[in-house]
Symmetry: C2
Subunit: 202 residues, 2 copies
Amino acid sequence: MARPREFDEQAVLDAASEVFWANGYEATSTRDLSARTGLTPSSICAAFGDKRRMFRRALDHYLGRLREKMTALKETRSPGEAITGFFEDTIERSLGDALQRGCMLVNSALEASPQDPEFRGAIAAELELIENFFRERIAEGQRRGDISPAHSPEDAARQLLAVLLGVRVLARVRPESPLLRGAVSQTLALLGLPPLAVTAGT
Amino acid sequence: MARPREFDEQAVLDAASEVFWANGYEATSTRDLSARTGLTPSSICAAFGDKRRMFRRALDHYLGRLREKMTALKETRSPGEAITGFFEDTIERSLGDALQRGCMLVNSALEASPQDPEFRGAIAAELELIENFFRERIAEGQRRGDISPAHSPEDAARQLLAVLLGVRVLARVRPESPLLRGAVSQTLALLGLPPLAVTAGT
DNA sequence: GACAATATGGAGCAAATGCTACATATCAGC
DNA sequence: GCTGATATGTAGCATTTGCTCCATATTGTC
């Protein structure tokens, strides 16, 4: 028995995560958020709380899509293709983004992490999810015989995670195709996986 | 024919880079800088200009030490030991830093980069220096026969750079020894280099 | 010692920031 | 239609921010 919301929460979270993604937490003002979401400051406060909680919601919204991507790859591709596809997708998005936003997870990991235990925990947990995705795909591929059993799934997954994060850092400063693809190709070859398909430019 | 400065410029840059390193550019206020350097705002303004230029000076100061480290490794170690030593040093510092500051270069790459072409250029150039360090060491090691010639120095260097940056990201959120060492060990093994020495904990 | 030149410190300005009253508008239930 | 309850919008508060006067202090040169 009350007035219903006029805005679409998903659309607002989309807009909010884009602002935070592009500018970071500190460099985003509540007025930026207000302008980009179309909500007034008081509506934001009433619906999402303060800036900190709004960031948390926006980050969770972003991470939800990342998890969907991993789930889709896991369910529709072979273990090796899931890993290769994850990197292909990452590189293509990195090269195709004119704003060079990189990855909101990585950006947040470096900016909003040590000061804030809650953020740090959420980000660490998400990094573990990615690590687990890699490890399980590697182990499964090794069982199938698609992936070389020369390396332990644990360490190989750690290496993939590090390379992925490194690519995301490079994408924000030097979005150059040979650099990103070169960094990844060696790692995939290590596992006996086929090389990346050559698609986008720069 | 004027009053000399009372502060040591290097000491001030040390203090300034520590604040920026730990908190980032946006989250560091000029009053933080003033408190940690011991200089008044007016002295900072007179000696270093505005906050932006102060950050640039602090970053250059930090990067200078990074370059010194690379030069020392290049001049005193074999190519393979230089690469291994670089990673060992990075991991040890990452695990030993209670503030989990990670690497100021990487932090700056993600926070202060796309908005500011000058910062972005400086950071990109520094990343190329590291890449070149790896590539030259790999090529030299291959000439000597210490490093496996199975991979091109170009792509191997790109991979090492990505792993290094990834480790720096992980260090800020999940400073766990098995994780960081596992990520690196695979990459070094790829080149036929000896594994990391096990030293620090966590 | 007088003077020019630079460094320093206190005080504070103009703007931006995060956030919030408070009045108004819009709904469900009776 | 009235009432309670929630959403929205305007305006603005209190604080912080980056930065700068301006008076004072300290030097080298003559």
